[in-house]
Symmetry: C2
Subunit: 381 residues, 2 copies
């Protein structure tokens, strides 16, 4: 970190914890005897409590969306490019709340937590979750914060699925729903990538059938391969080509020396895998990818997305990125078409980008930034 | 297998072995003290020895391209759909030769073979190979068979790379070059998938740094994940969606029962992974993917593909498939454009298909079959 904080940063932030002592029944009918949610907030809640915005994180995100935890931090929160004073999600205007999802590994109750019934870490015994479970726990957090209605619920990727589910589960509790680089359900290919990542984790002997914490080991190699698989799907073929091409890690590869040849993309991916596996929990990764696989917006509405969205009362902004092949623009157009047929108020922007699925996180994309910024400017608080 | 062989089958075939006792210097200057190539042939070599066709196999292929090894075989060779009497590669006309590549694991000298210098299996010590090494060893096989010039060299995917390399290394030794679903070089994304697959293998403790044969173990789990990764890239998103969609393996997934939910695509991939890992050699898989990564048709021609192809004397047929995202039609158009600018005789067909990269193996695609068949009909022998 620089010695001074950037002027458009929310600055030093401190995570808070909300504890819910009552039992919480999940979508699969299993019951958490208690749970806690770690979250961060940026900006100030106005007196009318009408300026609160909920940020829903994606697969590997957490509650630390903006600012720094200390002056020693190398990097700000994961969506710092878009959250801060004067930024698209303007903290001079909005009170921004970002929780770590239930089942996460950064402080909210999840597989790493102690199961009060056994006194041991939940591990693989932690119940599987659905997107709706996150939405319901986020609603309990909103209750605790005195927020009867969100000005907006915003999310990219898996976060967008939470935002859409909010519009159906609590239609009266949000005025705007912003869905970025998301989908109403995964394709077979999406599921295939997730399953391959899970198999990589579960094949690691250190996974120990999910009880690695009890056994004091970590399935780092399996989780690293899982992250490499994921990472490929977050970037575009073009973007990878532009960033790495076929450049070599060191020197040339003259005939005769190729035993030591390494392409830059290889060492980049290995680094990403190692970094991730040192900080993320394998059971959480499995749980989150399962939630992605299971998500199917319209399933309990007779597979009728139009009928489903008729329940929604909020306005929608849907954004996609041309080079996103994980959740391609076609997936966003399906959302938009369903909303139009459901006669909901929807705006849609397809952003030209080479950043692939990750584009929703990347700064310096003027059209995305402008659309996002102006849409949020128009929200009355 | 049925009790009788199909009339358009080459029937029961027997692999043959060619032994080369002389030392063979590889592109990386390492030397194999001796080697053998296992191969199959279909059809009859004419007196002029002018009707021979070389089939080059892809990553996981081998010499068994057509027919059956016994009446108990469940499946014929990997390209049986296109090789046989009256089929596109008509064995009534052509003498078809298909070798298992050097470094393979089905009988040709490779990592599973005994290193004569140590008396132990080569394992990870087997030298890394380039596409040109395959071409040179195939040329030695041609010498042994008395074939001075191939009527055609034909290959899909990695096989297409061998076919193109043939046209540059031995321009006078082939009259036609047929390149299907291939590329002049891998993209960063292609390399990324290969590297992730290799990491999956090498992360398996049973890989034992490549010496699993000596240690009497097999890295089946790692190889299985590697195959799953590969398999996703062989199919198209659409094709997977049509074949599997979000269908469940068994039963419904009512809320409350999803602990046991399994999508069909998941069990399909796991099955493919297990099947492959029981029959394929992990060191060969690493070696073959490395050869793919290193292949760069024009690298030693100052990265000038046009200049490179000026060396070629044969005619070319290039075929791509619309849904192939591993080697997309764009990659084939690059080949075709280079050939046009090099003033070579080239025909190109882009086939509408939902089968992805695997399309080159799949039967029942009329346009592909017709173009392939008629082009080969036009070859004088």
């Amino acid at each position: 970190m620089p010695e001074t904080l950037p002027s458009d940063s929310v600055g030093i932030v401190e995570p808070q914890t909300a504890y819910f002592p009552e039992s919480f029944t999940l979508a699969n009918n299993r019951v958490l005897p208690e749970y806690q949610i770690v979250y961060e907030t940026y900006g100030v809640l106005n007196q009318a409590k009408s300026n609160a915005v909920l940020i829903c994180h994606a697969l590997s995100g957490n509650h630390h969306a903006a600012g720094y935890h200390s002056m020693d931090d190398h990097k700000p929160g994961w969506w710092d490019n878009y959250i801060g004073p004067g930024k698209a999600i303007d903290t001079n205007k909005f009170f921004v709340v970002c929780p770590n999802n239930l089942g996460g590994c950064d402080g909210s109750t999840g597989p790493k937590s102690i199961n009060p019934n056994t006194g041991k870490a939940w591990g693989a015994e932690f119940p599987s979750l659905r997107v709706r479970d996150w939405v319901h726990s986020q609603a309990q957090l909103a209750d605790k914060l005195g927020i009867a209605q969100w000005a907006a619920v915003i999310g990219g990727s898996l976060g967008g699925m939470q935002a859409m589910r909010w519009s159906l589960e609590y239609p009266e509790r949000l005025r705007y729903c912003i869905v970025i680089a998301s989908s109403m359900r995964l394709t077979a290919q999406n599921i295939a990538f997730n399953e391959t990542a899970r198999q990589a984790i579960m094949s690691d002997p250190n996974f120990a059938e999910g009880n690695y914490i009890e056994q004091n080991v970590l399935p780092e190699k399996g989780l690293s391969v899982a992250r490499m698989i994921g990472h490929i799907t977050y970037l575009s073929d073009d973007g990878m080509g532009k960033k790495f091409g076929r450049d070599l890690q060191s020197g040339s590869f003259a005939l005769g020396t190729e035993e030591t040849v390494e392409f830059q993309i290889e060492s980049y991916l290995r680094y990403q895998g190692r970094k991730f596996s040192a900080s993320f929990d394998a059971n959480t990764y499995i749980l989150m990818t399962r939630a992605l696989d299971y998500f199917d917006l319209a399933r309990e509405y007779n597979n009728d997305a139009v009928g489903a969205f008729k329940k929604a009362q909020c306005k929608f902004l849907v954004i996609s990125f041309t080079s996103d092949w994980r959740f391609s623009p076609e997936r966003s157009r399906e959302i938009v078409n369903a909303l139009i047929h459901a006669e909901r108020d929807v705006s849609y922007a397809e952003i030209e980008s080479t950043y692939g699925h990750d584009a929703f996180l990347v700064k310096g994309q003027d059209r995305y930034d402008n659309i996002f910024r102006h849409y949020l400017k128009g929200i009355e608080t």
